[in-house]
Amino acid sequence: MKCIYIDKDEVLAFLNSEDCHIEGQSYEWEGENVVHIHTAALPHAFGRVVAAHWHKSSLPSEPYAPEHYYVVILSDNEAKAYYVNEELQLEECEVNFIPSREEMYSRAKGILEVDILSNKRVMIIGLGSFGSQIAIELAKAGVGEFALFDFDRVELHNLARHTCTIKDLGRLKTDAIKDAVIGKNKLAKVDLFPINITDQKALMDEQVAKADLIICATDNNASRFYLTQCLLKYNKVALFGRAVTRAEGGDVFRHRPGGPCYNCLVGSRAHAMATEEITNRSQLPAYVSEEDANAMIQVGLSSDIEPICNLIVKLALVELSRGKNSGIESLETELTYDYYMWANRRERRHAVWAPFNEAKNKPTILKWYGARIAKDDNCPSCSANALLDLGEDLNTDSLTPNYEGIVLETGE
């Protein structure tokens, strides 16, 4: 017997409409006798696609179209479905309802109040191995609105750590992750921005102003610095996450209004300019040869990324439900640091950390460590007493200060 899935929200919409008949579509997982039937075509089809006819109360009279499906809606929780075989006989199918939104997230109730999250808008910049996982986790938790930013497409080298699969190769990451988000939270509103954030500054301003939380999951400081300007302008909370070389470790920074900004962090000892993980060619200067680039691009494992994504998701849920009776409010008093560090292996920057078995009170692998970051009184981004780096560290003794006779050439 074929197993049919129909969407309760679509059933309710059909029942509430004046239509007594709708031409929909079915998607069959071939060879598995599993068929999903919808009242309208899905934006991205899967499986074998054939027509499905929706009716209220009773089946229409013959003739029936071969290999089509007929769905009869009897009430909001009762339906029958039939498949017309090659001999034009009706085969009754087992009907299952995909629950409505309220039902779908009822399991999370008591742990996390999903009503708080359904009205929240999260902006995610960068949909690589971090951003893609975070988006899907937040969708699973019940976040209702997303603004997804990434101008990249899914490439072969992404697949090992990315939520996207081989069938997504070549697609815009924004489109592919929207599908994944909708697959977890069908009522989520997802706005897509396949752009470089520094190219459309007015749009960025508008989107930052609208968001309840911003997550920066890019692979470069330029985007983090630029985003910081927008955060300061609109007093927004943001989370920054990244991996360091070969994902030997990673860190998470939380920006809250009035606290230290990302630029304060970069100037701090805790951050110490750890080498950014290089995951793709675009992070390297154009003059780096292919051979050198191949040696420099060293990504870590997906399992090295997971713990960092996990903390970002937890912090995001705390921030989105802060001050509300959410069920996870105890974390508000525990996850209070500005900056969190994690090591997967004792390499490079983490080589001096203690071995896991002998660590006692010393920092070791596979544990989170938090730090408070002092606000920089002379930060050029968030302080009224900005001091710039004038290059005092450079040895300029050899440069003759000879300014006479200089005429500027525009080169035009």
């Binding site: 400081n221 630029n263 003759t400 300014y403 006479e404």
Partner: protein, 148 residues
């Protein structure tokens, strides 16, 4: 670059350099840039065009307004040895600052000084054939003098 930062940068340049040596142009447009003159120890004069569209979030792109030549007299081509991104449309784009160590607190004046050091290295390369990469590494290692 917001207005407050622009005022800070202007104040630094006013203090450090004669006013005829630099000029902010097309501010408020995607082509905003600073033209700034540089005279090397060998008394050669260059004009540098520092693009400000993403400054101070990212390392500003810097061009010489005339093409720089290699030792054979050809336009400089993209090269790690010679720390440049090549010559297009009559401008050579120089590599003056690694992306990974950039911070928004770096002033345009410091960028200018780094470019001055780069130009000194370029002139040593023209005279001796030593690569700019080697010379810059020497500066970084010893805080040394590229013209000695």
């Amino acid at each position: 670059m917001d207005q407050a930062r622009f005022e800070l940068e202007k104040a630094v340049l006013e203090k450090k350099l004669p006013s005829n040596m630099y000029m902010f142009r097309e501010m408020g447009t995607p082509n905003a840039h600073l033209l700034i003159g540089a005279r090397t120890n060998a008394k050669n004069v260059y004009t540098l065009k520092i693009m400000l569209n993403d400054f101070p979030s990212s390392v500003p792109t810097v061009y010489t307004t005339k093409p720089l030549k290699d030792r054979s007299g050809r336009d400089l081509d993209v090269s790690h040895e010679l720390h440049n991104y090549g010559t297009t449309d009559g401008k050579t784009r120089i590599c003056h600052y690694p992306d990974g160590s950039w911070s928004p607190r770096v002033s345009l004046y410091k960028v200018y000084i780094k470019c001055r050091l780069w130009l000194e290295c370029y002139e040593i390369y023209i005279r001796t054939g030593q690569s700019i990469d080697t010379l810059i590494n020497e500066i970084n290692r010893q805080g040394g003098n590229p013209t000695r």
